[in-house]
Amino acid sequence: MLKVDAINVFYGSVQVLRDVTFDLNPGEILCLLGRNGAGKTTILKSVIGQMKPRTGRISLEDIDLTALPPHEVPKQGIGYVPQGRRLFAELSVEENLQMGLLARRRGGDVRARVLDLFPVLRERLGQRAGTLSGGEQQMLATARALCLEPRILLLDEPTEGLMPIMIAKILEIVGTLREMGVATILVEQRVESALHVADRIAFIENGRVAEVMTPDRLRDDPRLLHQYVGVGVKG
């Protein structure tokens, strides 16, 4: 469905992504693992249109996303949950959701269905987003992205800095979304999360896709983890 084809991305004159290629199937959860600075966030920014590849192409079915102006990309049905959440902190919870609704393709009661997934938010609609707890902020960032009824959800380290119970909750929602047919690219530092929910895992190393594999393969050969992420598997 989504094809990332040999993209090369630069910050100024510094090349950050080199010939990055992968694809994403409908309803699939693809996890990007890699060390700090490997280029995971840059991959997501390229998909959402914030970064334009110098060469290469990103396409969604037959739409060439790289040719669209950045603000048209989310309208193709791509929801983005940025690293560090990037909520509109001065705006209310409701207004953050409204921003998500802006780019949706169809009308209907999306907002109500999203709030059913995150009942806590319903009690806080008037509250300033910046005053929510870390876990609630992550839920709001996810809810905001879901408001545009994405076919593809980009999640950048959604469990960063959360308590275990919140991590479980977020991962559970990722699973629920898969059942609803939403494909997800999940950037994770926590290997356990990746093993738990991913259909496929892509290791990112120095701006390249080093290897793509299934979680089972990784469980069988934990040395790979040490090689790409520099950690061992716990549990």
Binding site: P74, Y80, A89, M99, L102
Partner: protein, 282 residues
């Protein structure tokens, strides 16, 4: 009374400057020229139909801000966008814009101040003093506009998009906001507000190609005192500055009024750099 008129007109002008700074993060040094253009165009439009001063003025009130907004859109597309809205570069560029607008008006309109007749003239006589009814009209119109802008910013979809863009333009774009379009619209809106203020003021003040300087300085003072991105702060500070400027000018001297205003800016910068109502630096 004089001070109240000044305060309302200043609030409109400063609001334009503050919106542009708040959303686009650029300091528009040419803002006063949009005010001047409003006044000069008001003279031009009323001169088109001198036999109907009321309708001429109404025409000016609608058409002048539209023309000025169009000029702003062109300036945005030709200059600001190409500079990628870099804060320093745009200061220099808007200084250039200031001179271009000023000199064009000097060339086309001449160095003389031109009067515009007030659309209505009646005197309101209160027990202890009387004054021109037009000033009441200015106050009413400015107040309506301020309320209108406040409503648009806090209650409409465009206002929401504007505030989101102000807060985080990258993320806003990732949710489908056409940031360039929003910038052009905000720049046009800021210019239109200054132009309307210019139109409203011209029957009291005469149109002149150098008249943009004072509103620019006062708007800066207001925006600094009120806080750089606070709507409420801008309006409150406009009242403090407008009223005190009027009162001190009347009883002492206009120079003293400016000195005090400048002192107030210095004090605010020292004690509350974020302005009286501004949010703390993020």
């Amino acid at each position: 009374m004089e001070g109240t008129v000044t305060a309302f007109v200043l609030a409109l002008t400063a609001l334009g400057l503050s919106l542009v700074f708040g959303v686009m993060r650029i300091v528009n040094v040419a803002h006063g020229e949009f005010f001047m253009l409003g006044a000069v165009l008001a003279w031009g439009f009323t001169a088109l139909i001198p036999e109907l001063p009321f309708w001429g003025f109404m025409l000016a009130l609608l058409a002048a801000p539209v023309c000025v907004a169009a000029i702003a859109v062109i300036a945005d597309a030709l200059v600001l966008r190409r500079l990628n809205y870099e804060p320093e570069a745009t200061i220099v560029a808007t200084i250039g814009l200031l001179y271009i607008l000023q000199q064009s008006v000097l060339t086309l309109y001449g160095p003389n101040a031109q009067p515009v007749v007030a659309p209505i003239s009646f005197r309101v006589v209160l027990p202890w003093f009387g004054y021109s009814g037009y000033k009441l009209v200015v106050i009413g119109a400015a107040a309506l506009l301020l309320i209108g802008v406040w409503y648009a910013i806090t209650r409409t979809k465009f206002g929401l998009v504007m505030r989101a863009t102000q807060f985080d333009r990258e993320t806003a774009q990732a949710f489908g906001v056409p940031v360039k379009l929003v910038y052009a619209a905000v720049f046009a809106l800021g210019a239109a507000l200054a132009a309307i203020a210019g139109v409203l003021v011209v029957p009291l003040q005469q149109a002149h190609y150098l008249m943009g300087l004072d509103p620019l300085l006062l708007s800066f003072i207001v925006v600094i005192i009120g806080g750089l991105d606070s709507l409420k702060g801008t309006v409150v500070a406009a009242f403090i500055i407008g009223l005190s400027d009027g009162i001190i000018s009347m009883f002492f001297s206009p120079t003293l009024a400016k000195i005090i205003a400048t002192l107030a800016v210095a004090l605010v910068l020292v004690w509350r750099p974020q302005g009286l109502f501004g949010a703390r630096a993020r």
